[in-house]
């Protein structure tokens, strides 16, 4: 991929800031890997960064102006991903790539407008914090899911979106940055996790991408929570909420239709092809596609 010099500098600064946040050491090997450039180009790049006084002369640490610049790029990237998630129909596998292209064109003013338009979001769709205009960012929290053993319960706070084939497996399972889960089984190769009435088996490579925190005081793992898609005719469900995978236009439309906590739903009309299915919600029959019903959390009610 041919990159002009400014783009490359911005990518490098973003990488430095991300490593700083992850408390990961920067090396030329890491740069080579993440930026996909040759060792000669790395040397040239480092020299340019140091000449511009964005990186300290004797280490890989960012200078004050370097950090400010890096946080601006990071803010642009994460805001733009949030924008893509909420306002467009692009599939999530290409958000990162699109944001990587667009972040360089966004000025400070554009970023400010974008943040305002989106209501100053604090986290991007993957759970990464979005730096504020004054460069504020919280300390990193949580640990990779693989660090925990069977029986542990916790909440997902971050899902790494690179590489995208691992990310796709996680998002297809409907796991998102607000999922509460329990580890059923963990061995040296795989980890079995339980959430919303289903069990998913992930190899370690996938589970590494998921960062989790322990549950707070008023937070519990609720075994009775399931997904609306598993509701059968004759059963009755109370809606608990919607997963954060249901976003933007779709989320507000469903809220308007009465898909809110406390609403009772039943299956009213089955479809020969299995999707969509008509649900009786607040006296109306509303047809939802299977993947929409998967994003709605319910608790079955005894008749």
């Amino acid at each position: 991929m041919a990159m002009d010099e400014q783009t490359l500098i911005q990518h490098a600064l973003k990488l430095f800031a991300e490593c700083d946040y992850d408390q990961q050491d920067i090396s030329t090997e890491l740069m080579q890997d993440k930026l996909a450039i040759t060792p000669e180009q790395i040397l040239q790049l480092l020299q340019n960064l140091r000449t511009a006084e964005l990186v300290e002369q004797d280490s890989f640490a960012l200078t004050a102006s370097g950090r400010e610049y890096a946080l601006h790029v990071l803010q642009a990237h994460r805001l733009y991903e949030t924008y893509l998630a909420r306002k467009t129909g692009h599939s999530e596998s290409i958000w990162h790539q699109l944001a990587d292209e667009r972040e360089h064109e966004l000025s400070k003013d554009d970023v400010k407008k974008l943040a305002e338009e989106l209501g100053h979001p604090r986290f991007d769709p993957h759970g990464d914090p979005i730096p504020t205009a004054s460069g504020e960012m919280p300390a990193k929290q949580g640990n990779p899911l693989v660090n925990f053993s069977a029986g542990w319960e916790g909440r997902v706070v971050h899902i790494e979106d690179e590489p995208s084939h691992l990310y796709t497996r996680i998002s297809q399972a409907g796991i998102t940055t607000d999922s509460v889960l329990r580890i059923e089984q963990a061995n040296t190769k795989e980890i079995h996790i339980r959430l919303e009435g289903q069990t998913f088996i992930f190899p370690h490579a996938v589970a590494e991408q998921i960062t989790v925190v322990a549950l707070g005081n008023d937070d519990t793992f609720d075994e009775s929570i399931e997904r609306l898609s598993t509701l059968k005719p004759g059963e009755k469900a109370e809606i608990v909420g919607m997963s954060s995978l249901c976003r933007g236009l779709e989320r507000s439309r469903l809220l308007d239709l009465g898909v809110v906590p406390g609403t009772v739903a039943t299956v009213q009309l089955l479809n020969p092809s299995g999707s969509p299915i008509g649900y009786a919600i607040r006296g109306a029959c509303i047809a939802l596609r299977k993947e929409q019903a998967e994003h709605i959390r319910i608790r079955k009610v005894r008749q």
């Binding site: 129909g89 914090p129 439309r253 999707s275 008509g278």
Partner: protein, 472 residues
Amino acid sequence: MEPEQIIKRASELRWKLPQDFHDRWVEMVYADSARIASRNMVQQGKVHRLTWERRLDSLLTNRWTGMPIMVLMLASVLWITIIGANVPSGILATVLLDHGHPMLQHLAELAHLPWWLSGVLVDGLYLTVAWVVSVMLPPMAIFFPLFTLLEDFGYLPRVAFNLDHLFYRVGAHGKQALTMSMGWGCNAAGVVATRVIDSPRERLIAIITNNFALCNGRWPTQILLATVFLGALVPPALAGIVSAAAVLGVALLGVMLTFFSSWILSTTVLKGEASTFTLELPPFRPPNLFRTLYTSIIDRTLIVLWRAIVFAAPAGVVLWSICNIQISGMSLAQWLVNLLDGPGWLIGLNGVILVAYIVAIPANEIVIPTVLMLTVMTTGMSGVGEQGAGVMFETSENSALAMLLQAGGWTTLTATCLMLFSLCHNPCSTTIYTIWKETKSLKWTLVSTFMPIGFGIVICGTVAFIWRVVAG
């Protein structure tokens, strides 16, 4: 505490809120309002659905009965429209064309209008508008009320429900089934009907692909060509079946192209548009006949008809003019026909057809009359359409028609390609204007206009090429 400290503390706490705090908060607001509403609201009437409603629902959405009922309903609506429109169309044609036109010509003579003025006004403007009205009004006045009745009864949302999985695969909305069938009546009305789709991406797909639904301005062209050219290839006993199958084939090709182009659009130019799906299945209710008639006649039929007239009138003027403006001893129309004969040949058509399509952008109804008039003009045939250059006509004698067109160099290939081109060409100007009104976007209007022509050129070109290779 100092103000700075408060702000600092607030921004620290801001990061401590749960990630989905905002979503949860909005959800709680909705849940609270729902609770308040249900506490203070008394609901009258039935809560549970009646047994017959449940039975009917499962009959209409059943794996075995759903599809046959749908095909039957659609076929009967189209059949009633075509059969029912014959009589009023005939009456209108007699009044407006057979009597009105000569009468106006006579009046123009009495008023001593110059020949060119009476030509432009009576033979051009009046005749075209009268033609469009007599062909277009009756089918629309039958089709739209029938359609609205089915809609009001609650049947159409069930169709969308049954077919959604097909449309889902190409990235479209089940309700596109409805706007597509509306397009079989009139594309402009079909485009307006896309308002029922509340998702931006799916709505644009439905608008752009609506032209592949064969509208009532094009059904007659298809039926005529299939009868005259394709029906004539087989023994008379089979002629009816063959020509009906050919017309149905073209309509089904249109449905396939709708799916194909929807898929292309949703995976390329439209993939970034926001998308959502919801489909409300209202309870069945007896339709209100009076309101249905009023809304479908006023809102749909008359508005579309008015737009068509507004666009057809200038077309009539242009048509008459190009036939009567002479340049170096040849009419402008003749020049154009000669110019377009080459490109026309490549896609299995001819110059006359292309000129007719350019002039007839305002209304598909006048394509065949224009083709006939131009053919008489270019071949110099006598015995039919002797009313003069620039005066459209139609003949009810199929044999005379076949003779005339064969004299104009038409073959089975020409007829086949014209049937295909009639399906895949730009929407009429009424529809283009409606698309502009609905999308307010030059880009999508242009895409809707030129994408079908692209399809048409490729399909007709391929058919013509293979045909010529195979036939030697």
